[in-house]
């Protein structure tokens, strides 16, 4: 969740910078200020189609100042470090290898359960629920505490609402209970398969593979 917010804010900043620069150059290059009769303030950049994008004079305006090069190098370093961190945050795995389990009443014991064991138990528990064709469950990193993320495929005519209730009361409840965890929120993505049409009477828009077709 936190990564989503950071990504969206930074993408918005990058987009705003690009859009602003592009519009500024376009407005100057197409001479929109004169055509629309707008009088930009004196300090407004790029107002005339006859001026260069970045003139020699404006490029070297502050080069003589003592603060210029430290500022440029410092700013670029911050930008490089920041984008490197941003990129690493995208490449980092979201999966967890194990989960900490509370051990109330036992001092000095720290217990971790393998994520794979928990995932397999939950997958098996979900696959035996009614109308479930296939289930994949992963334990993922999230701010605060880990979360479960599941992808479940239901057999034709399966009931998604009932699946959610069965999953909550069955596999997830069992996992919470047996691990003694206070919370382990789960997100499920549910797909439903279609019965193969007995006769060709459904005209289906943009039909792809069974269970994977998208509508619209």
């Amino acid at each position: 969740m936190r990564r989503t917010v950071v990504n969206r804010v930074l993408l918005g900043v990058a987009g705003a910078v690009l859009l602003g620069a592009g519009v500024l150059v376009l407005a100057g290059g197409l001479d929109l200020y004169r055509r629309l009769g707008v009088d930009p303030p004196r300090w407004w950049p790029l107002t005339s189609p006859d001026q260069p994008v970045v003139s020699e004079r404006s490029r070297v305006r502050w080069v003589a100042s003592s603060w210029w090069w430290p500022t440029v190098i410092g700013g670029l370093s911050v930008l490089v470090a920041g984008t490197a961190w941003w990129l690493v945050a995208q490449l980092r795995r979201t999966g967890l290898s194990s989960i900490a389990v509370p051990t109330p009443g036992v001092g000095g014991l720290r217990l971790r359960v393998s994520a794979r064991a928990l995932e397999e138990a939950l997958e098996r528990g979900t696959e035996v629920l009614p109308e479930v064709d296939r289930a994949v469950v992963r334990l993922v990193r999230a701010p605060g505490h880990p979360r479960l993320r599941g992808a479940v495929r239901l057999t034709p005519g399966g009931d998604p609402a009932a699946l959610v209730e069965h999953f909550e009361d069955g596999p997830r409840g069992d996992a919470l209970h047996s691990l003694g965890l206070a919370e382990l929120p789960a997100e499920l993505r549910v797909r439903v398969l279609q019965e193969a049409p007995a006769e060709r009477r459904h005209v289906w828009p943009r039909r792809r593979r069974r269970g994977r077709s998208r509508v619209e």
Binding site: L76, P185, V215, E216
Partner: protein
């Protein structure tokens, strides 16, 4: 501890049934890579010049182009247009929720779920397959509304009732509107969506 949890969670859940939001990891990786490469190359060259080496050819060339090309130069205008479009697209990615394919279901306890829109279409089509008198059927599941086009001697009211029942069973958090339209001939079903 465990038994108290579901009640507590379900009490605070209803407002949590909001739309899914994509993490935009792919776009973020692309933009961060582009900025990293550009800023890194510039930083390297600036430091090299400060250390007494001559500037690389690419930097001198870019500075020269920027200083000689005027704003009404075609290349500059095209570049600015592309930058503005790209910027608008990135802003759209930042604001739009994404994951339009998934509809959020009513949460139950600590489990939230979303169902594939195509899956809802499959459920409706399978329900309609059990009805008699439908020659052609076309189902389009949007994010707010389901449009069904039926042709054949079936009673539209009963088709609508059955499909509405099926749709209610799915339990989508923001209920979908159901429009059932009957067309006279099979022509309505032939159109490719």
């Amino acid at each position: 501890m465990v038994s108290g949890e579901p009640q507590e969670a379900s009490a605070e859940r209803p407002e949590k049934a909001r739309r899914l939001r994509a993490s935009r990891a792919g776009a973020a990786a692309l933009v961060s890579t582009a900025v990293l490469v550009g800023a890194g190359a510039l930083l390297y060259d600036v430091i090299a010049v400060r250390a007494g080496q001559p500037a690389r050819r690419w930097r001198a060339q870019i500075a020269d182009e920027l200083a000689t090309r005027h704003l009404d130069d075609l290349g500059v205008l095209v570049g600015a247009g592309v930058a503005a479009l790209l910027g608008g697209w990135l802003l759209w990615l930042a604001v739009a929720p994404g994951l339009r394919r998934w509809l959020v279901l009513r949460p139950y306890g600590g489990t939230s779920a979303a169902v594939d829109r195509a899956g809802i279409g499959h459920l409706l089509a399978d329900r309609a397959a059990g009805l008699t008198g439908i020659d052609h059927l076309r189902i389009r599941v949007g994010r707010r509304r389901v449009r069904v086009t039926v042709s054949g001697p079936a009673d539209p009211a009963s088709v609508q009732r059955q499909l509405r029942e099926e749709l209610a069973r799915v339990g989508v958090a923001r209920p979908l509107r159901l429009d059932v339209r009957t067309v006279a001939g099979p022509t309505g079903g032939e159109a490719e969506g």
